[in-house]
């Protein structure tokens, strides 16, 4: 038996009939075609599927689609506005905070929530705040740097030279 689920994802209303056992992450990926949210494990350890549910970071493999009824969801695809990267996205790019990129959407969404809760976190607070996300490529070094740099930008400090400038200028 299927159930109706109505959600708002990245500002757009959706309504679908879904199996009760359908995980929210599969709903996003397979039903809505929002494949930026990734699946990295079966046991809710890796955090690759992290999204925002009513503004809170949630591993979307820990919820059924039907539990998202009436909720406001934000995925990685909804983060850049009008062609402008979110400061955290920009910071991941600038600080080389990703390599294979598979865990990246989860880290970025987790960081959005982290900085919303704590706009000026210490390094330890960033590490603690992101301990629910696994990355196998970066050793977390530049992920932590990216979050620190995004925190500064979001607090209104002068932004570092952007990537586009670096691309055309031929580097530093």
């Amino acid at each position: 038996m299927k159930h109706k689920v109505a959600t708002n994802v990245n500002g757009r209303a959706h309504e679908h009939e879904v199996e009760p056992r359908l995980l929210l992450v599969h709903y996003l990926r397979d039903t809505l075609g929002l494949t930026g949210t990734h699946i990295g494990c079966d046991t809710s350890q890796c955090g690759a599927c992290t999204i925002l549910v009513d503004g809170k970071a949630v591993k979307s493999c820990t919820m059924f689609a039907v539990q998202a009824e009436g909720r406001k969801l934000q995925t990685i695809e909804g983060l850049a506005k009008e062609g402008q990267l979110h400061p955290i996205q920009q910071a991941f790019w600038d600080e080389h905070g990703l390599q294979c990129g598979y865990c990246t959407p989860g880290f970025i969404m987790g960081s959005v929530y982290l900085l919303e809760q704590n706009p000026n976190p210490t390094e330890d607070e960033i590490r603690k705040g992101l301990e629910g996300n696994l990355c196998r490529c970066t050793g977390y070094v530049n992920i932590v740097k990216a979050v620190q740099s995004a925190a500064k930008t979001m607090a209104g400090a002068p932004a570092k030279s952007g990537s586009k400038a670096a691309l055309t200028a031929g580097g530093e």
Partner: protein
Amino acid sequence: MSVSQMVGAKIHRREDPRLITGHGRYTDDLTRAGLVHLAVVRSPHAHARILSIGVEAARKAPGVIAVFTAKDFKDVIGGPATFPVAPVFAPIKLANPPRYPIAAEEVCYQGEPVAVVVAEQRGQAADAAQLVDVDYETLPAVMDIEEALKPGSPKAHLDQKDNIAWDTTYVPWEATDKAFKDAEVVVKERILQQRLSPNPMESRVVMAEYDPFDKRMTMWLSTQNPHWIRLFVGGALSLGEHQLRVISHDVGGGFGSKISPYPEDYIVPACAKLLERPIKYTETRTEAVQNAYAGRGQIFDIEVAAKKDGTLLGMRLTQMLDAGAYIGTFGAFQTCACLLAGGAYHWQAISSRSVAVLTNKITTDPYRGAGRPEATHAVERMIDLVAHEIGMDPAELRRKNFIQKAEFPYTQNFGLTMDSGDYEKAMDKALKIVGYEDLRKKQKELRKQGRYLGIGLSTWIELCGLGPGAVTGPATGGVVLSESALVKIHPTGGVSIYVGTHNHGQGNDTTHAQIAADALGLPMEQIDIRHGDTNEGPGFGYGTYGSRSLAVGGIAIQRASNKVIDKAKKIAAHILEAAEEDIVFDQGKFHVKGAPDKSKALGEVAFAAYGQLPEGMEQGLEAVAYFEPPNFVWPFGTHICVVEVDPETGAVDMQKYVAVDDCGNVVNPMIVAGQLHGGIAQGIAQALFEEMIYDEESGQLRSATFLDYVMLTANEMPTLELDSTVTPSPTNDLGVKGIGEAGTIASTVAVINAICDALSPLGIKHVDMPATPDRLWKQMKGASKASSNGKEARQ
């Protein structure tokens, strides 16, 4: 002459915009019209005979299209190439059981496929797979390396006479007789390299679609080397290269585990052909931990002979390797540990031997570093043991035995020629950064207070950039690991470059564009780098592994670019009405010698290249280059780790980590640092946390999820202090080496040496990995008891 602008610069990655916005194209993100899904029914036993397989209930389940077992694939999957086993450095294979993608009569590891279910929806396939009723007779499993070596041991396969996969002696023991006769000190140790799960964050996905009219198969999969997969799958499915297209877009990490072929690489296209439906298989994480080709899984017995003044004389090393249930396609590459165990030092002689056994576990195959972390661990551990034995500072013992800068190119004990190095310089820089002398003083002070501070060095070397044909040709059984590139300049100056390497996080699309931009004198934005599609580019690409994408692939790009410029000069001579030898190419423009103000841009020359040309010239401006390197490249460096071990809990507090690495000339320092960060993290994780744990009786993998297989999180990662020296490689035009595996090769033993150094006041000389708090705590407790009777504690 073009002035280098891009090579050496910190250029931000062109790959990133799609990846940070959720627009990557990983295989599971792709779909096809009419796509159906495949689930695999796997053996729950490590070793069992299949008595019967009941498929009727599964066939009747909702949405099920087909249930197949081994017999259904007999006419579709065959041929000797199904699971090739490369000779590598152990050419004589003894027990080498043939492997078929799906078991018919006997299963030899937990997770081996026995049936597959294809259904309309992924959930339906998974549900129906539960209904396949397999009746097994369980058989004794062999899970332990030493057990497998015993004559009376169970056999990993019923029809084997023993479990010995290979037994290769590289240099016989007699060769080191003199060294051991002359020795004033002999130290012995057994070093365990636990089995590791590679765990790229993206597990494997395979999708295939067959066009029965044009007889073309397209496969999308998560691989490091699409052309190799085309070679293997094409051979097994009787599809020529013109019929099989393999596409690998974004790949979520590999670390070696996505090199060799897997059962599903054959099964999925075979099902697509049988059913004439596009099919996708998405591996779950549990399946991935269980079935991804594992890393390490080795025991080393090592003896070192030395003089009391610290002069190293000889080494005898035996590698005992757990090959798993079937020998991996490149599994014997791990024997390179036996050829590299001399490290950065002079030795009178080294003897080594590799013995591999079959067990009832998943195959082992190259995992980041593959044989080189093991070699580094062996030699760097032994150096510390010698230093401890003779009471010499471990840094000074290293200094005394280093191969000197002026000796390069240096032919080491196994006949391999090391290209360039300056080991002392890197070590001195690292010692200075870490504040070595002060740390030793601090250590002394803390020891008086009953605190255990340890300093661990790893003066690592590496062989990479696979590789020269004289070695790699015989090693693969015929294919030389060169690399290809096709550079096309289109009529208005747009450039498409097709490379044979892959990119699964290394940032090659960016660094390769940097190289091409300099060679062609064009802005990077005008150059597209394409990888991962066998229908594009040269006839064969060799893929990305063994830190080769720059030192081999990058040079192919540079050479193909140079070929294009050579032709463009001829065309420029035509349009500038001058002799070809008078044409100068400078930063993307051609001019006649002495008249730089009257120049033609490469784009203008390209347009002319497609127009009317003098007789004897062909239209077009494109070139292919294959680069076969004359030698491997040999990066090196010094890592120093500082830890304090808590005697109450056994917990390791990593206080400092300094790495001074030398990978020759650097194309993009940001990417080099990133590779080091991740590599060091993986090495630390082996030292402290990671281990595949099997139940020795039943053969069940007990660490099959991320809950049980402990990886590093941001919390455990120490702050790294990186620095470098630059010693260019003389073997390629860019003077580059490799850096993809360096961190993992260097770091594991730096951590373990630091822990051993910390615990040495307790009489502990060696600790096994992973050095978890409980293991260290028990060893420390044991040591305080054992110290009274003079025995070394080992847990």
